[in-house]
């Protein structure tokens, strides 16, 4: 896990909030979020890397959105969702949040 200074954390959080707002607007009305992997906002979110994982998990805890799953997988290279929960958005969000807690993220 990457350790950031408080100033770096604030900068990452500020950049993330701007991108998160744009990502939610971009994915509104869309069912095929996987097709947005080349989208500039997706690319910028993934480029922020591991420091934004806990911020995304907090977003999922606040309101589960499918569009965050692709970003989490894009950053971490993982998909912890078991086949039994595939497609069940709330259960998928809980799985990701549990995954994050197991790895020590503050969620």
């Amino acid at each position: 896990m990457i350790t950031l200074t408080p100033e770096q954390q604030q900068d990452v959080a500020r950049r993330f909030q701007g991108l998160a707002t744009r990502w939610i607007a971009t994915t509104r009305y869309r069912s095929n979020t996987q097709a947005l992997r080349n989208h500039a906002v997706y690319q910028e979110l993934v480029a922020l890397g591991e420091p934004v994982v806990p911020l995304i998990l907090l977003e999922l805890e606040r309101q589960p959105r499918v569009s965050w799953f692709i970003v989490l997988t894009g950053i971490t290279g993982e998909n912890p969702v078991p086949p039994a929960h595939a497609g069940q958005v709330n259960a998928m969000a809980r799985t990701w949040i549990d995954w994050g807690r197991q790895r020590g993220y503050a969620v």
Binding site: T27, R28, R30, N32, F69, Q88, V89, M92
Partner: protein
């Protein structure tokens, strides 16, 4: 009526539509058209069909559910139809299901589901969602109405567990000028 919705889909207001249910993240358009309101159907999430982002993945999914390509959007007794949309990059974007009365039902990603049509009462096409977001309708597919998915609502039998528009509710529809 929703100004945001009409901003995203400029043809909607002119063609006539109604909001049919509130926003939910639980399912999307493909799941809705397939009769499943409990899951989000998308490759990489849940997808009981050939994987991919392109239209072939979407047509393959509905083919696996018994649909075959058909010529157009006309209402055909004994058949249920889906309209499949793709953007100019070839990525599938949307699926709409035709109801027994000829209206089309669409779940708009993580947002509302709507009932829509065109102004021509005799030809209720799914063109109202065509545009920048969803691209064009690229394929129509049909299958015989599935007895197992039918249920009775009042005097009418509908497919996929979806509600038909009741006469009182039709008065609330956004009618074209």
């Amino acid at each position: 009526m929703s100004a945001e919705l009409e901003g995203a889909f400029p043809s909607l207001a002119a063609d006539g539509y109604t909001l049919a249910s509130p926003k939910t993240q639980a399912h999307n358009c493909v799941a809705w058209a397939a009769g499943d309101a409990s899951r989000w159907w998308e490759p990489g999430i849940f997808w009981p069909g050939p994987t991919g982002d392109d239209l072939a993945a979407l047509t393959g999914l509905f083919a696996a559910r018994g649909y075959v390509p058909c010529a157009g959007d006309e209402l055909e007794a004994g058949y249920e139809k889906v309209a499949l949309y793709a953007d100019d990059q070839g990525n599938w974007t949307h699926a709409a299901l035709q109801l027994p009365d000829g209206w089309w039902t669409s779940k708009l990603g993580p947002d509302e589901d709507i009932l829509h049509r065109t102004p021509h009462a005799a030809r209720r096409t799914p063109q109202a969602l065509v545009g920048e977001l969803y691209g064009q309708v690229q394929e129509f597919m049909k299958r015989t109405t599935q007895p197992s998915s039918e249920q009775s609502v009042g005097d009418e039998v509908i497919g996929n567990g979806l509600a038909v528009i009741e006469p009182e509710r039709q008065q609330d529809l956004v009618a074209p000028e």
